[in-house]
Amino acid sequence: MRVTKYVVTSQDSDVLPSDIAMKIYESGHEINVKETCFGVIIDGEEDDIKETVNEIRAIDPNNIFIKDRGFPPGDPRRCRGHRGGGARPGFYMMEYESKILPLISQGLASDELDEEISIPEEKTRPSVERIEELIKEEFS
């Protein structure tokens, strides 16, 4: 079965979409590659894609993110060229998440270094009992 995936680079990454494309060409797998502004779209047989995904991830593990795509590249149901322009369905989610990618990259890097001790406590809402205590302290 043919599989299509998005390979998206974080804004902090030094890896360019063309670097990823070159890496795929070098690997010799029969994969279609489409370079885009955010990374590349790869399309090929499942086994080839699986191997390629591991190779691509190894270039910059914390800054390269990979996502499945339902439609093949250039499919007329999704391609903007065939639909009269405008944002591709699915663009908004990718745009939203792309803004967070540098944070996730940092999170992955710190998790690799096992920095969990320095992680601050999560903010939680005070309980009703705690609020009652605070009121009594304030007004007594």
């Binding site: 993110f65 990979i66 996502k67 339902g70 439609f71 149901r77 999170g107 992680i119």
Partner: protein
């Protein structure tokens, strides 16, 4: 390898983290791919068939808008398949095809009532939150067998 449903089902970050840790992420694009790659009578631009909203009847009543039932035709089988789930709590991230509030409520409800391990989080807004976000997901996924 455990099948982990991510919500929003189009999330790149969650799907990537799940697959990084060696599990299988259940995402809506895989369901869409099955439809796109299956040869049938429906040619482009249709990718939903009249049968799909009927499948959704298993999850939502007939008086529920067909949009909800159509979405549930894709999400329902994923929920049934899931052995664990990671859910993003806020609604600010449910965009595009996941922008239907009623489907989101129903999906989250069905996942919670399925009695599977669930991790509920918010997307991070600063460095400290991001560290906690990744760490929690890693711990959760490592604990799955």
């Amino acid at each position: 390898m455990v099948k982990v449903m991510v919500y929003p089902p189009t999330s790149m970050i969650l799907a990537d983290l799940v697959e990084r840790m060696g599990h299988e992420a259940l995402v809506v694009s895989k369901e869409v791919r099955k439809k796109v790659n299956t040869v049938g009578l429906d040619s482009p631009p249709l990718n939903m068939t009249p049968e799909d909203p009927k499948k959704g009847l298993k999850y939502a009543a007939v008086d529920v808008p067909s949009g909800v039932r159509g979405r549930m035709a894709l999400l329902g089988p994923m929920i049934e398949e899931a052995n664990a789930a990671i859910i993003i709590k806020g609604n600010s991230c449910t965009l595009g095809c996941t922008g239907c509030a009623r489907t989101n409520e129903l999906t989250r409800f069905l996942l919670r009532t399925k009695r599977i391990p669930i991790l509920e989080l918010d997307y991070p807004e600063d460095d400290a939150e991001a560290k906690r976000f990744v760490h929690k997901i890693r711990q959760f996924l490592e604990g799955l067998k």
